[in-house]
Amino acid sequence: MDFLKHLYEGPGILTFLIAFPLLGALAAWLVGDRSARATALVVGIVELLVSVPLFFTFDPTGTCPQSVIGRQNEGLPFAFSQLTVPFQNCTDAPWFADWGIHFRIGLDGISLFMVLLTTLLLPLMVLGSWTYIRDRQRTFYAMLLALTAGVVGVFVALDMFVFYVFWELVLIPMYFLIGVWGGKERVYAAVKFFLYTAAGSLLMLVAILYVYFRVHSVTGMSSFSYFDFMNPLAAFSAREEALLFLAFALAFAVKVPIFPFHTWLPHAHVQAPTAGSVILAGVLLKMGTYGFIRFAVPFFPDAAHAPGAVKWAMVLGVIGIIYAAMVAAVQPNAKKLVAYTSVAHLGFVILGIFAYNLIGLQGALMVMIGHGLSTPMLFFLLGMLYERRHSYEIEDFGGLAASIPVFATMLVFAAMASIGLPGTSGFVSEFLVLLGTFKTHPYVALLASTGVIFAAYYMLPMVQKVAFNALRSPANRDIPDLDRRELAILLPLVVLILWIGIYPKPFLDRMEPAALRLLATQSTRLAPPMQPMGDVAAAAPNP
């Protein structure tokens, strides 16, 4: 047991979680089409089993010594000025040492759940693609595993260069997943996905370099370390900070996606194969909100807290919630409907983040987790339906409760979780977000709470038309119900949704210190009090 304890307290575990799927990708590609899926499944299960103990060994107040991660820096804000940083399992290996690029990774209460969500979905996705993917299997599973490695990397990176590399690494496998194994309009969807995301991330790259050079010019040290990026000596002017924040925010907003940048999402979702939709909705979208929480807001607190920015974020978040719900309500295609619900749910996350209080932030994180369980479940179910009937059109179905009752039960459950019925994860998380938002922006909370009603408005008719109504079409009559493999995919999700819905405390406890710290860091880094009317220029720190 000492060995295990050592393993889970040491730095190697995170590197393993990144490297193992990469090696697995190579293995899956080498073993050939016939056994690729079995290899991928083994890799996925091992990855999950290795990562699960992190949940139990995780110490919410755990820290790493400063010397392990980043440099000693006396100018850091208070939350980081101690000799330790609030991350654990840290690794810091020099890569391009002259440029201050190190392979720095670490885990805190926010990244923990994102990593676990990713490793949970991996074996489920392999199972979900078991019979769905028939062509070029070895490349498919290699891509899927490489994608997982990239996503884990994004969530643990504490070096902006490493972060950017992982961020882009995610793009290529996802692009191939959509473009090669997708539906009829897959090429259009894949290219649109790629160009939207790449455009956003290039802007972020410029912003990263700008901060890097600024820190270099004021302190004389080259470092891409996450902590050095918050060096107060950098002292950006209000205009600079606003532009930098905008560059980061755009990259993340495209990924989330926030309302006007969401147009790539429905295409990508509808065209992607089931596993692609699952990982897209389950974790890739969260990379955007994670980016806001971890990078954009703490780096540029003045710009992020400026009344204008908060107002825009709130307005776009609410528009996302209501607009996406309305669009979802009229979709004839069930997969597209679910895709739009993602936009709505992620709107809640944005509200929670920009409420700037603990409840809101925790709520946002809980929505990220809850949505990462319920939406993949819906996509899995639709994928199973597609394998049986080769259609996502709602009107092709009806009365499935009579022919495949287990499926119908699961669909109803997933829909309820997505709507946010009390007792499911959706309720707890959205409730927290609304509570947090109400504290600072009561009217916004009022508007957003209609989103919960809208969710019922678009989700229930879909469930009704698919699972109930009359069993008219004979094609719907003679289809097999869910088999054991398919239940094995869905049941873990059901259990987790109920667990979070009924007893979210273990989750909230683990993320609370990290969330508090992020908020504290922001408030200490904020410029002196702003003028009442929010004149941004007046609030700028004078360099």
């Binding site: 890569w95 391009f96 040492a97 002259d98 440029w99 070029r136 490349t139 950017y164 590399v165 882009e168 690494l169 290529i172 191939f176 473009g179 090669v180 897959r186 090429v187 894949a190 290219v191 790629f194 160009l195 790449a198 455009a199 290039l202 802007l203 790259l205 410029v206 370099l209 700008y210 050079f213």
Partner: protein, 520 residues
């Protein structure tokens, strides 16, 4: 290099002494002898019969290049105390020499099999490639404008011939004629520019020019110098294919046999850029106020224009031609950034660019057949699915050209961006990033077609492939492109040291002998 020291290599060269030129020009001498050897061996093989050359010729050519590379290592750590030698003895030259040799070796390697298929397997091809490489080394390693011009001509004349090497192909001949006419014209510009600079400063020696301009004394020929610099700029702009001097590029690249295209877009460009750096960023450094704004616009227009035009290309070969113009723009940014970082970024990028571009042309060759060049986008449909290795290699090269992480191209662009921001060219850095964004689209399109469209017909790609040697070269290029990302610190340090040596002023010699420069 104790090996060369044992052979009697002096530690410090003094180019006022003619015997020291032997050591300073060792790689060039080896290459010249080797090129002649290739010609003679080919003639001995064939006699007066008209038949394809033997397969041993390319092998011999590669051996000559390897020997030259070995001789090039003799330049490591060598210093030159004379201020006015005709050739530079510095790390910059050693580094760029390796780049030309890599370009030539890749060109020869990917030409294997290709020449036989097109029926142009002649020993002259290989000898001409070697002579062109010699020209590159002379041009990029010269420290005198006259020497630069001689190098330029030694490089260009074989290339004119190589472009039109497939006499039976009208497009090849057309490309050759176009390139020759415009190239001769630009050489004229360059030579006239040299004359005017000589008139203004009183020397063609680059070190002397730098010192004269550096003292800031009014030499009274301000306008003459400006005219000279402008004409020199035109000549170099033509060779590096910067917009608006790029008109010949797409046609010449498209019509030339593909291995020659690979050499033109890598070695020739690298040599012209090396001379560009030596002349403008070093010799004319203190006249920067005059030329920097002009080159700034050249860089900006080249990056934006080339990427936009590349979007509209239906032929992969032409797309790569425009991509190479766009990369000239990126390299101009490195040149403009000045300072040691700018030079180091330039060196790093030119190495990465050479490997990835030559590799990409290797794949273009792999996809061509007996008589026909399959270069349209539709010809690539399904390639990635039916030939996974070719598809994967091409994807890596294209992603690297686009500047995507995990490839050398990304690190190279990051290096240039860093140099640009440090050198106060932040606007150019932004333009570079936006231009790269545009480039994503057309590089990506090839990958889309390769993986997401079915092939034209069943078995369309059955014959795609390369002979073993060429395959090894392309695979090696692929590995280098990825390795330069993960272990980029090694070439980076080398580039930095090489760039530093470019700035190092030669140590003053007591009782300096008479200047060796021709015109002084």
């Amino acid at each position: 290099m104790s090996f060369f020291a044992a052979l009697g290599r002096p530690e410090v060269l003094d180019l006022a002494r003619q015997t020291h030129y032997f050591w300073a020009l060792l790689p060039e001498i080896v290459l010249t002898l080797g090129a002649m050897l290739v010609l003679i061996v080919d003639v001995i093989h064939k006699g007066d019969r008209s038949e394809p050359s033997r397969g041993s010729i390319p092998v011999l050519t590669l051996a000559v290049l390897a020997a030259t590379a070995l001789a090039n290592t003799a330049l490591f750590g060598l210093r030159d105390v004379s201020a006015n030698g005709m050739v530079a003895v510095d790390g910059f030259r050693t580094f760029t020499n390796f780049v030309y040799l890599v370009a030539a070796a890749l060109c020869i390697a990917i030409s294997m099999g290709y020449l036989e298929r097109r029926g142009i397997m002649k020993g002259e091809f290989h000898a001409l490639v070697l002579f062109a490489t010699l020209g590159m080394m002379l041009m990029g390693g010269s420290r005198d404008l006259i020497m630069t011009f001689i190098g330029l001509e030694v490089m260009s004349v074989p290339i004119y011939v190589l472009v039109g090497f497939d006499r039976m192909d009208p497009r090849s001949s057309e490309a050759s004629l176009k390139y020759f006419l415009l190239g001769a014209f630009s050489s004229g510009f360059f030579l006239y520019g040299i004359a005017l600079v000589f008139g203004a400063v009183g020397s063609t020696n680059l070190t002397y020019i730098a010192e004269t301009l550096g003292t800031g004394t009014d030499h009274g020929h301000e306008r003459l110098l400006m005219a000279g610099m402008a004409l020199t700029l035109v000549g170099l702009g033509f060779k590096v294919a910067a917009i608006p001097f790029h008109m010949w590029t797409p046609d010449a690249y498209d019509g030339a046999p593909t291995p020659v295209t690979a050499l033109m877009s890598t070695g020739v460009k690298a040599a012209a850029f090396a001379a560009f750096v030596r002349i403008f960023a070093v010799a004319f450094a203190d006249a920067g106020a005059q030329w920097v704004p002009v080159v700034w616009w050249l860089a900006a227009v080249t990056m934006v224009g080339a990427n936009l035009v590349a979007l509209t290309q239906g032929s992969v070969k032409r797309m790569l031609a425009y991509s190479s113009i766009a990369h000239a723009g990126y390299l101009l940014v490195a040149l403009l950034s000045g300072g040691d970082t700018g030079k180091a970024a330039f060196l790093f990028y030119i190495l990465a660019y050479t490997v990835m571009t030559a590799g990409a042309f290797g794949i273009v060759i792999a996809n061509s057949r007996d008589g026909e060049e399959r270069v349209t986008l539709e010809d690539y449909a399904g390639l990635g699915l039916e030939k996974p290795w070719l598809g994967a290699a091409f994807s890596i090269f294209l992603l690297s050209l686009a500047g995507f992480p995990l490839t050398a191209g990304f690190l190279g662009k990051l290096y240039i961006l860093r140099a640009a921001v440090e050198g106060g060219q932040a606007q150019l850095a932004v333009i570079l990033v936006l231009a790269s964004l545009v480039s994503y689209f057309y590089y990506l399109r090839v990958i889309v077609v390769m993986y997401m469209r079915p092939a034209r017909s069943e078995g369309w790609h059955a014959g795609a492939g390369l002979p073993l040697a060429a395959r090894t070269a392309v695979l090696a290029a692929c590995v280098v492109v990825v390795a330069m990302f993960f272990a980029g610190a090694v070439p980076m340090r080398w580039a930095e040291q090489s760039a530093l040596s470019l700035w190092r002023q030669p140590a003053p010699v007591a009782a300096s002998p008479a200047p060796a420069s021709l015109f002084r």
